[in-house]
């Protein structure tokens, strides 16, 4: 598996660290924050198909990437910096 980093180009899997599902951090001030944090921390859609996920380019530019990847084929569908 090779992941295209927007800064470094296509690089080998071993340069990256996986940080899982792109779940957004809930608002801690929300009235049902406890429930929302439980869902964000522990529950997953875990789809068989396109999956939005976070990868850290540890042995490269050290950028955080948002990667869209097919979990059935490992095909990388799209990559971008996580903050963009």
């Amino acid at each position: 598996m090779r992941i295209r980093c927007p800064y470094c180009g296509e690089r080998d899997l071993s340069e990256y660290i996986y940080h899982g599902d792109m779940a957004a951090r809930p608002d801690p001030a929300a009235p049902d924050a406890q429930r929302r944090f439980y869902e964000a921390v522990y529950l997953r859609d875990n789809p068989a198909g396109p999956h939005e996920e976070l990868w850290y380019h540890a042995n490269g530019c050290r950028g955080w990437l948002r990667v869209r990847r097919d979990t059935r084929t490992h095909e990388i569908l799209d990559t971008a910096f996580a903050g963009s």
């Binding site: 598996m1 996986y18 869902e39 789809p47 490992h74």
Partner: protein, 437 residues
Amino acid sequence: MLVRTYQYMLRLTSWSPVLRLMRYSFLTLGRAALRGHRDWQPAWRDAEPRPSYDIVVVGGGGHGLATAYYLAKKHGLRNVAVLEKGWIGSGNAGRNTTIIRSNYLLPGNEPFYEWSMKLWEGLEQELNYNAMVSQRGVLNVFHSDAQRDAFARRGNAMRLAGADAELIDTDAVRRILPFADFDNARFPIKGGLLQRRGGTARHDAVVWGYARGASDLGVDIVQNCEVTGFLREGDRVIAVETTRGTIHAGKVGLAVAGSSSRVAKLLGLRLPIESHLIQAFVSEAVKPLIPCVVTFGAGHFYISQSDKGGLVFGGDIDGYNSYAQRGNLPVVEDVCEGGMALMPIIGRVRILRNWAGLLDMSMDGSPIIDRTPLDGLYLNSGWCYGGFKATPASGWCFAHLLARDEHHEVASDYRLDRFETGHLIDEKGQGAQPNLH
């Protein structure tokens, strides 16, 4: 009258377990051999699905079949079906590395796995089937003082739960593994934690043995029957829709680890599970070399030798969500490096095959055997990379839950809601990072 008698006899021969079952013994084996092996019967019925059952177990792997077997054997529930998408044992039951052990630390886990170990010890007599259970021992080597302390603590926890554990020194390890790299500059071997009752079992035979036992007690094993949906009546699941028609069920048990999220999604449920890959490897056959199961304490590598002579080994999971059943090269490299660090003697052995299986990685590394928010739906999932050794106890406890609607005492902590209530069973203390468990 004659016709009726004939029909009765026909029914008796096609349904009665007593007449159908061929008990395996030295005598039947010898007789079959002398007759040119012409008389062997299929070990279980490849059943057609009926429109309705008391209990439908989804998933014809080891766990699903063991559940059905114990439902019939221990709870007298025989109107039971096991639905399997492919053929029985075609998923993770045939992809694991066949290790059985009960060397866990936490009170939520150890009594369960020790109960599984005890069931393994009597399994072949129970099923009248040769599952090749071999208690050749499981040895975890350690490499530092801190690791010795951790292993001593684990061994004590095991003994408190009735399991066996011995903390052995370098000389004792050397007698078992004279070829290991004891003086490795970075990871010298300082001793090991040995569970002599651990070992291996033949995974296919476990599936076949449970299938034969369950089928013999009247359970329908329905193959090539994929669940495509569920019928609900309010908050109650009343039937499963399959590629072979709709099947009504008093209760539905899911035992589809690896694909639990996909099946739960059909009901709109989100689970505390990610699907990951773990790879396994088998080498060409060599003469008897490795007498027990060995795990490397400094990296992640474990190895045993099959009765055919192949070295069976593996290591870390691939580390990212996947349903591909196909691993990637960095982990191949990592596993082989671990093997070379522990026992350089295997360096010239050629790998014959490697493959990957799907794992239900739960959020604390421990399984789930519980009810679900939907009435009539029960969940057996989250086995991470440790499902094979759990097969008998998983079936035992899931059958207990399905039959009696109460948790079995050794599986009472495996709750689905433990992530919400904070009662996690986190052996590794990694938190909600499934790829690190």
